[in-house]
C-alpha cells in the first residue's frame, strides 16, 4: 500500500471511529481524531504535489470494484497536475475548517456527529478528485452530496434545515440523472469507464451519431451535455441553482467548506477533467459558457438586495461558479481551475468571517441588524475586508488575477465570447457592489441590534481567528502563481503564469491567448474599473446617502420585489413539479388507478362471483314440484333438439 491511499483513507477511518465511539466515548474531544486525520492527509498531499511538480503522474488501480459481463470498473487513483491542485485545495480548506469548527461548534450536542460528517466529506471529496474512472467519480459525487445533505440538515430539529437538506439532495438527483446516463453512454461508446482509454479514444468517435426519438444527435455533444447536467446540479448553475442558497441552513463552517470552496466546485473540476470530450463539441462548449455567464449575472443581481449575510455570500458563490464555467466553456480550463483555487480561499474566508460575526451576535444573520462591528471584531473585519477586496478584483490580490484571466480569455475567444464578456464585466461590478454592501452595512456605521447583543459583542477565539488569518494570506497571495505574462513582463518575471503552465499537460498544452496586447490592456482596465466602480457606488449608497437604497427600492419596487423573491424560481418549481406530482400521487394513482380501477377489479370480480352464486342459489328452493317442473321442461327441450338434429 502506498501513501496515496492514505490521503482519503485517514479521514474515512476517522469517520468510522467517530461515528461509532464519538457519542459515548470522545464527546467534546471528537475533533482530535478528525483534525489529525485531515492534517495528515494535507501533509501527504503537499508531498504528492511536490512529486507531481517534479513530473510524476500516478495512475493505478487499487481493486476491481464491479465485474459483470463485459463491464468492469476499478477503484483507483489518477494523480496528475489537476488532481494535485484539487488535493491541496481540499485538504487545506478542510483542515482550516476543522480547526475553526473546534471553536464554532463548541458545546453543540452533535459535536461528535459534526466532526464525523466532516471526515466523511473529506474522504468523499478526495475520492472524487482522485478517481481514475467515471464510476468512482460518480461515487465521490454522490457521497459528497450525502455529506452535504447530512450537514445542511445538521440541526435537524429545525424544519427549515431538514427541508433544505432534502431539497439539496433531490435537486442534485435531477442533475445526477443526466450525469448517470452520461456515464452509461460513455461506457456503451468506449467499453470502459477509465479516463485514459476514454479520453484517448474520443477522437475516434468524432462525427458518430446516436438516434434519439428519430433524430440523429451528435454522440460527443450528447455525452458532454449529459455529463454537464451533473455539473449544473452540483455546482448550482441555472436552472438547478435553487438548493445552494437554502443550504445555508447548515452550520457556517460547512457553508465555507462544502458550499463554497470544495464540493460545489466539483462540477467545474469534472468539466475540466473531461476536457477532451468537451473540446470536441462546439455546441456543448457554448452551452457551458452561456450557462456560466448567465448564472454569474443572474445570481449577482439577486445578491444585490438580500439581507441575510450568508445568503448574499451564497449567491455570490453561485455567481463565481458561473465564472468558472464561463472559463471552461471558452476553453480556458486552467483559468477556470485557477479561479476555483483562488475562490476557495477568499470565499471560505468570507463564510468563516460571517460565521465569526454570527458567533458574536448569537446567530443573527440580517445585516440590517448589525453595523459598526469593525471596532468590536478587528480581526474578523480586516480579514473580511481583504476577502472582499480580493473577490472584487482589486489589483494585486488573488481574485484579480483569476478573474482578469477569465474575462480576457472570454473576450479573446470570439464573437460569442465578446457578448459573454459584457455579462462577465457587469457581474464584476455587481460583485464588488454587493460584497462591499456587507462591509459597509455590517461593519461600518453604528450598531443597530439589541442592547443585549451589543453587550455580548466580542472577537472570536484564537482557534477561529487563526484560520481567518491563514485564509486571508491565501486571499492575497494565492494569485501570485498565475500572473499574466503581460504583467510578468513589466515586473521582469519570466514564466509568471506558473499555474497555467503547470496544468498545461492536462488541458492539451498551454495555449497563449489570441488577441493583441492593447486589447488585453483594455480588458484588464475594464475589469479593474468595474471592481473599483462597484466599490465606490456601494460606498456612496451605504456610507454617504444611506437613505438612497430605500428610495431606489421604492422607485423600482417591481424589480426590487423580483430580485428579493429570487425571480420566483422556487415558486415556479413548486407550481410545475412538486404540486402536480403530489396531486397525481394522491388523486390519480391512489384515488383512481390503484384505488378504483385495479382494486375495483380485484374486489369486484369475487364480489360479482358472489352475487352470481347468490342468485344461482335461489334455484335450490327445496320444493319438489318445482324440481319436477324444471326436469320436465328440460327433458322436453332435449327431445326437441334431438329430433330436430336428425
Amino acid at each position: 500500500m502506498d501513501k496515496y491511499v492514505l490521503i482519503p483513507l485517514l479521514p474515512l477511518i476517522a469517520f468510522f471511529i467517530n461515528i461509532i465511539f464519538g457519542r459515548k466515548i470522545f464527546r467534546e474531544k471528537a475533533h482530535w481524531i478528525s483534525t489529525l486525520a485531515v492534517l495528515s492527509s494535507w501533509v501527504i498531499s503537499v508531498i504528492t504535489l511536490s512529486e507531481v511538480v517534479n513530473g510524476k503522474v500516478i495512475n493505478r488501480d487499487i481493486y476491481t470494484w464491479i465485474i459483470s459481463g463485459n463491464f468492469s470498473v476499478s477503484v483507483g487513483f489518477l494523480i496528475d497536475q489537476l488532481t494535485a491542485v484539487m488535493l491541496i485545495v481540499v485538504t487545506t480548506v478542510s483542515s482550516l475548517v476543522h480547526i475553526y469548527s473546534i471553536g464554532y461548534m463548541h458545546g453543540d450536542k452533535g459535536y461528535y456527529r459534526f466532526f464525523s460528517y466532516l471526515s466523511l466529506f473529506t474522504f468523499s471529496m478526495l475520492m472524487l478528485v482522485m478517481a481514475n474512472n467515471f464510476l468512482q467519480l460518480y461515487f465521490g459525487w454522490e457521497a459528497v452530496g450525502l455529506c452535504s445533505y447530512l450537514l445542511i440538515g445538521f440541526w435537524y430539529e429545525k424544519k427549515s434545515a431538514s427541508d433544505a437538506g432534502k431539497k439539496a439532495f433531490i435537486v442534485n438527483r435531477f442533475g445526477d440523472f443526466g450525469f448517470g446516463l452520461g456515464v452509461i453512454l460513455v461506457f456503451l461508446t468506449f467499453g470502459t469507464l477509465h479516463y485514459a482509454p476514454v479520453f484517448g479514444g474520443v477522437q475516434g468517435i468524432v462525427g458518430r451519431t446516436i438516434n434519439i426519438l428519430g433524430y440523429d444527435v451528435d454522440l460527443i455533444t450528447l455525452m458532454a451535455l449529459l455529463l454537464f447536467c451533473g455539473a449544473v446540479g452540483k455546482s448550482a448553475q441555472i436552472p438547478l441553482h435553487v438548493w445552494l442558497p437554502d443550504a445555508m441552513e447548515g452550520p457556517t463552517p460547512v457553508s465555507a467548506l462544502i458550499h463554497a470552496a470544495t464540493m460545489v466546485t466539483a462540477g467545474v473540476f469534472m468539466v475540466a477533467r473531461c476536457n477532451p470530450i468537451f473540446n470536441l463539441s462546439e455546441i456543448a462548449m457554448d452551452v457551458v459558457a452561456i450557462t456560466g455567464a448567465v448564472t454569474a449575472l443572474f445570481a449577482a443581481t439577486i445578491a444585490l438586495v438580500q439581507r441575510d449575510i450568508k445568503r448574499i455570500i451564497a449567491y455570490s458563490t453561485v455567481s463565481q461558479l458561473g465564472y468558472m464555467f464561463l472559463a471552461c466553456g471558452v476553453g480556458a480550463y486552467s483559468a477556470g481551475i485557477f479561479h476555483l483555487y483562488t475562490h476557495a480561499f477568499f470565499k471560505a474566508l468570507l463564510f468563516l468571517g460571517a460565521g465569526s460575526v454570527m458567533h458574536a451576535m448569537a446567530g443573527e444573520l440580517d445585516i440590517k441588524k448589525m453595523g459598526g462591528l469593525k471596532k468590536y471584531m478587528p480581526v474578523t473585519y480586516w480579514t473580511f475586508l481583504l476577502a472582499s477586496l480580493s473577490i472584487s478584483g482589486v489589483p494585486g490580490l488573488a481574485g484579480f488575477f483569476s478573474k482578469d484571466e477569465i474575462l480576457w480569455r472570454t473576450y479573446s475567444s470570439g464573437s460569442l465570447g465578446q457578448v459573454l464578456f459584457v455579462l462577465g464585466a457587469i457581474t464584476a461590478l455587481l460583485t464588488a457592489f454587493y460584497s462591499f454592501r456587507i462591509i459597509y452595512v455590517a461593519f461600518h456605521g453604528s450598531f443597530r441590534g439589541t442592547h443585549e447583543q451589543e453587550h455580548h459583542l466580542h472577537e472570536s477565539p484564537k482557534v477561529m481567528t487563526m484560520p481567518l488569518v491563514i485564509l486571508a494570506i491565501g486571499a492575497i497571495a494565492s494569485g501570485w502563481v498565475g500572473i499574466p505574462p503581460l504583467l510578468g513582463d513589466i515586473i521582469g518575471l519570466e514564466h509568471s503564469d506558473r499555474f497555467g503552465e503547470f496544468l498545461a499537460p492536462v488541458f492539451g498544452g498551454h495555449h497563449p491567448s489570441e488577441g493583441s496586447h492593447s486589447e488585453e490592456i483594455l480588458v484588464m482596465t475594464l475589469s479593474i474599473a468595474a471592481g473599483i466602480l462597484g466599490i465606490l457606488i456601494s460606498a456612496s449608497m451605504y456610507l454617504r446617502k444611506t437613505d438612497l437604497p430605500e428610495r431606489i427600492g421604492q422607485r423600482f419596487s417591481s424589480i426590487y420585489k423580483l430580485l428579493w423573491n429570487k425571480y420566483y424560481v422556487d415558486e415556479l418549481y413548486d407550481f410545475i413539479i412538486v404540486r402536480p406530482t403530489l396531486w397525481i400521487a394522491n388523486n390519480v394513482i391512489v384515488g383512481v388507478t390503484d384505488g378504483k380501477i385495479i382494486e375495483g377489479l380485484v374486489n369486484g370480480v369475487p364480489a360479482a362471483i358472489g352475487r352470481f352464486s347468490q342468485w344461482l342459489r335461489r334455484v335450490q328452493t327445496g320444493l319438489v314440484h318445482q324440481y319436477a317442473t324444471v326436469m320436465a321442461i328440460g327433458a322436453f327441450i332435449i327431445v326437441v333438439i334431438a329430433l330436430l338434429w336428425r
Binding site: 470494484w65 464491479i66 459481463g69 427541508d163 448517470g180 456503451l188 394513482i589
Partner: protein, 517 residues
Amino acid sequence: MEPGYPVLSTLIFLPVAGAVLLLLIKRTQEGLLKWSALLISVVEFILSMPLFTGFDKSTHQMQFLERYEWIPSWGITYHIGLDGISVLFVLLSTLITILCVTISWNSIKVKVKEFYIAILLMEGAMIGVFSSLDFFLFYIFWEAMLIPMYLLIGVWGGPNRVYAAIKFFLYTLVGSVLMLVGIIVLYFEAGKTFDILEMMKRTYPYQVQFWLFWAFFAAFAVKVPMFPVHTWLPDAHTEAPTAGSVILAAILIKMGAYGFLRFSLPLFPDATKAMTVPMLVLSVIAIIYGAIVCLAQTDLKRLIAYSSVSHMGFVTLGIFALNSQGIEGGIIQMINHGIVTGALFLCVGIIYDRTHSRQIRDYGGLATVLPVYAAFFMVFTLASIGLPGLNGFIGEFLIILGGFKAVKWAGVLAATGIIIGAAYMLWLYQRVFFMETNEKVQGLNDMDLREVITLMPLMALVLWIGVYPNTFLSFMHASVENLLQRLGNQGMQPQNISDVLGGPVVDLARNVLEVIR
C-alpha cells in the same frame, strides 16, 4: 468442494423436523420454544455455509445435486440442486429466518408455539422452491409456502388481517393455477417428464412457448409483483407481523423474478424475446408508478411496501433486458432488495413494538430520542435510494446500464425512478426522524442489544455488497452467460398469430383426452 452429506435435503427438512420438535414442547414454555427455534435457525444457517464456500463458480452446471425416483410412472423425481442463479437466495433465506426469529422475540405474544412452527415450515418450503429441479416438486413447495404465510398474516397480523390474508391467498392462487396448467402442458410437450433439466434440453414450437410464457407469467407476475397485479402486496405487508413482512419482502416476492430466470427465459426463449417490449413497459410503469404512489402514503409499512413495487420493477427490467449486466444486476438487486427492504421492515417493527403505530404523523424527531436507531435507519434508507458505496447502487446501476443497452428509453425512464426514490425516502426520513420531537415518542428506549444484533448482519451486507460486490456477482457469471447463450442460440421468429392462438389449446385437449383414454 461439496460436503459429504446431502446438504440441500438437510436444509429443506431440518426446519421441518424442527417444527415437529416444537410441536412436542409445551406451549407454556415460551422461553424454550423461542430458544429452540433460534437454535434450529442458527444451525440451519451454519449448515448452509458450504453452499457459500463450496460452490464452484466456474461452471453453470447444477451443483449439490440429489436425484431419487419418486413416482416413476408419472416421471416425477425428487431432484434438487443449485446453480449460480439460485444459490444466493438459499443463503439469504437461511439468514433472514434467523432475524425473523430474533425480531419476534418479544412482539409475538399469542400462539407463540404455532408462530415459530409456521416460520420454520416457511423456511423449509422456501429453500425447496429455490432448489427444486422437478416441476412437480417445485409446485408442491410453491404452494406449500402459501399456507404458513397465509397463517402468519391471518393470525398474527394487524386489524385488517383477514382481508389481507385472503386477498394474498386468492391473488397468488389464481396465478399458480394457470402455472399448473402450464406445467401439465409442458409435461406432455417434454415427453412426459417433470424433470426440469430434461425439459431444458428440448426446444419447443413457438406457439407452445407463447402460451406457456403467459401461463407462467400469471404466477410469476403476481408474486413479483408486477404492475397491475401488485395490489395484494401493500395490504399483505401492512397487515403482516414484522417477521411476515420481512419474509415476504426478502424472499417470497423474489420467487416471481426467480421463476422468470429459472423457467421462462430458458424454456421459452423465443417467446421471451418476442415479449421483451411489453415486459419492459410493465417494468418501467412499476418503477415510476410504484415510486409516485409512495409519495402519497401516510403509513410507514405501506410506503415501504409500495417502494418494493418500484424496486422489483428494476429487477424485472434487468431480467428482460436480456443481457449480462441487466440479468446480473437484476439478481443482485433481488438480493439487495431482500436485505434493505427486509431491514426496513425490521426497523419499522422495532419502532412499532414501542409505539404501536404505523402512522408517519405519529412520529417526528426520533433522531433525538433514538440516535442508534436513527443511524441504522439512515443507512438502510440510503441503500434503498441507491447511494454508491452501498449495495442498492450496484444493482440499480447495472440494471439501468443493461436496460439502456437493450432499449434506450427503458434505461432513461428507469433512471427517473431514482429521483422519485430519493424524494419519498428522504421525505419519510425527515417526517419520522427530523424536526421537533413528537410528544408520542418522548422517552422511548433506543434499540437494545437483541435488536442491534438483528440488524448488524444486514448492515454488514449493505456495505460489503456496496464496496466489493464481486464476492456475490462472481457466483452468477457462469450461469448467466449460459442462460444468455441459450437465449441467443434460438433465433426462431414469431409465427403467424392464428397458429399461435390455435395450436396449444388443441394440443392440450388432445393430450388430456389421451390420458383419459
